[in-house]
């Protein structure tokens, strides 16, 4: 138990540090994916399989891919010529130490340390599902609404309005879609060259 925790924690920490310090942005994103996997392993070790698998599904399957796509579509993945040490480090370290101090103070002065450990629950997937659909159904619906609103917002931002008039529903057979399918590839080619 302890050894496995040490291995997982070391992997997570090392990959997190690597994600901050690599010069190549894609390498950073890949190390971050390892960090996500390490966190998932920690959840699994704590006996929360649902959270662990959901962590892998969402963070490695979606968030890491999103980051990688964002890097590729916005800027070159070549390393930038900036020096590793920069002057903003001093301010950054000061802020980090300050935040760490405040958090430590807050945690130490709270009553968490004195509290008795509750009996370890058995959060089966079935139990989580039942709770989500009965007691916590309203927060779940709210989150769903928020995500739908975000999706609609993204569609509105991405939508092109040719001459201010709405275009027809694109055609599966003929492929008369609003965006040129080769646009993305064109963009990629300029990034690569």
């Amino acid at each position: 138990m302890q050894i496995s925790f040490a291995i997982i924690a070391a992997l997570t920490l090392v990959s997190a540090i690597a994600a901050m310090s690599f010069r190549n942005l894609v390498h950073c994103a890949l190390s971050l994916a390892i960090t996500f996997a390490g966190l998932a392993a920690l959840y699994l070790q704590l006996g929360a399989p649902f959270v662990g698998w959901a962590q892998i599904l969402v963070y490695i399957g979606a968030v890491a891919i999103l980051i990688v796509f964002a890097i590729l579509l916005t800027r070159s993945s070549e390393s930038t010529p900036q020096p590793v040490i920069s002057r903003s480090w001093i301010a950054g370290i000061a802020v980090a130490v300050l935040v760490f101090g405040v958090l430590t103070k807050a945690i130490l002065s709270s009553s968490i340390g004195q509290r008795e450990l509750p009996a370890k629950p058995e959060p089966t997937v079935h139990e989580i599902g039942t709770q989500l659909m009965t007691r916590y159904v309203l927060p779940l619906e709210a989150v769903g609404l928020l995500l739908t609103a975000a999706a609609i917002g993204a569609v509105i931002i991405a939508m092109q309005e040719p001459g201010g008039k709405k275009s027809k529903v694109p055609n599966i057979q003929t492929g008369q879609s609003r965006t040129n399918p080769h646009n993305e590839e064109e963009k990629l080619k300029t990034i690569l060259s």
Partner: protein, 409 residues
Amino acid sequence: MIGEFFKGLFLMIWKAATDQPDPKADFLQVLPHAIRPVAAVVLSITPIMIVFPTLFAITTWLERKGLGRIQNRFGPNRVGPCGLFQPVADGLKMLTKEDIVPRSADKVVHFLAPVALLIPTLLAYAVLPCGRNMVPINIDAGILFFFAVGASTELSIFMAGWSSRNKYSLLGAMRAIAQMISYEIPLIISTVTVVMIAGSLSLVEIVSRQEGYIFDLVPRWYVFTPWGLAGFVIFLIASLAESNRSPFDIPEAESEIIAGHLTEYSGFKYALFFLAEYLGMFAMSGLAVTLFLGGWHAPLPFLEWVPSYVWFLAKLVALVCLFIWIRGTVPRLRVDQLLNFAWKFMLPMALINLVVAAVWHFTAPWSFAGAILWRWLLCAVIIAVPYVWLGRALSGDKKLTQRTYRYAD
């Protein structure tokens, strides 16, 4: 000691072959205490590592033969009887080929990509129940596990495409990711219907829910319900796209981008990619069998004496043959057609199928005469009307007529 060891081994194989519960237990008693946990794991993994790569070898032969017949040629016919040893020759060729890494490639990521692709693909088999007592681990969230490990293959394909530092590789990887993310949504939503009805995320539980026969004739598989039939079709199409099979093979469309993310891979690394692709297809077909086709249950009551794993593998091979048939028949889609189809057709149909499953579930207490026919009719209308309407709306006012050939024919 040695005699006991082999006796235990043969007893275990005999028990596994005849569908008896917990075949490993007796054999583990023979082994020393310290290595029992490791031995139990190894004994679970070994059959998977033997059966599915063997199936891969047979499938490559079957696919080349089948495609050959569809295209009116012979296919491989030089190595062994009917070219049956062609996979062996292919494997030897792959092993002895030079491994070429492009000079400007990202060496570490280029090396890791095939490994990072193969490991999650193999992990997916951990939750598939291949027979009556044959599941390596029966976890509560089996389906979630399956899709979680499946999701991490997308990053591996990106690693392969990006690290090769080749335009075609990167284009292929981007196409692959766009396609896999788009089709993952209908795929997962079509499995949600099964989870709704079965009330469990465990694949073993889902299989046990499909036991038994209606009127001692029709098995209670989920594919024989209206939502199950629609869900099975949606799942099949989405899993074709998810495993990059034709007609959704645009990530490696050889006429456009050479071989996509595989362009800069050669020798054994290429073989690993190939293996991972086929193992992924088998895992997807295995999941389809488990969810909709009754898993390892026999199709008819008097066939129950056949061992359960035979039925599982038979259904799996039947699905693989269907995939080969589709590959030989249907031409490749364009990128925009593919994404439009995923988001504007597959996703709404999968969502409507959720409603159909709910209707089927809540009309279950109906008990008047001909209730089952009315339930079928109601569900069929709910799924068929949007299907026709959506299909008409998306094809627009384009008239589809028979193509006339001016010079050919």
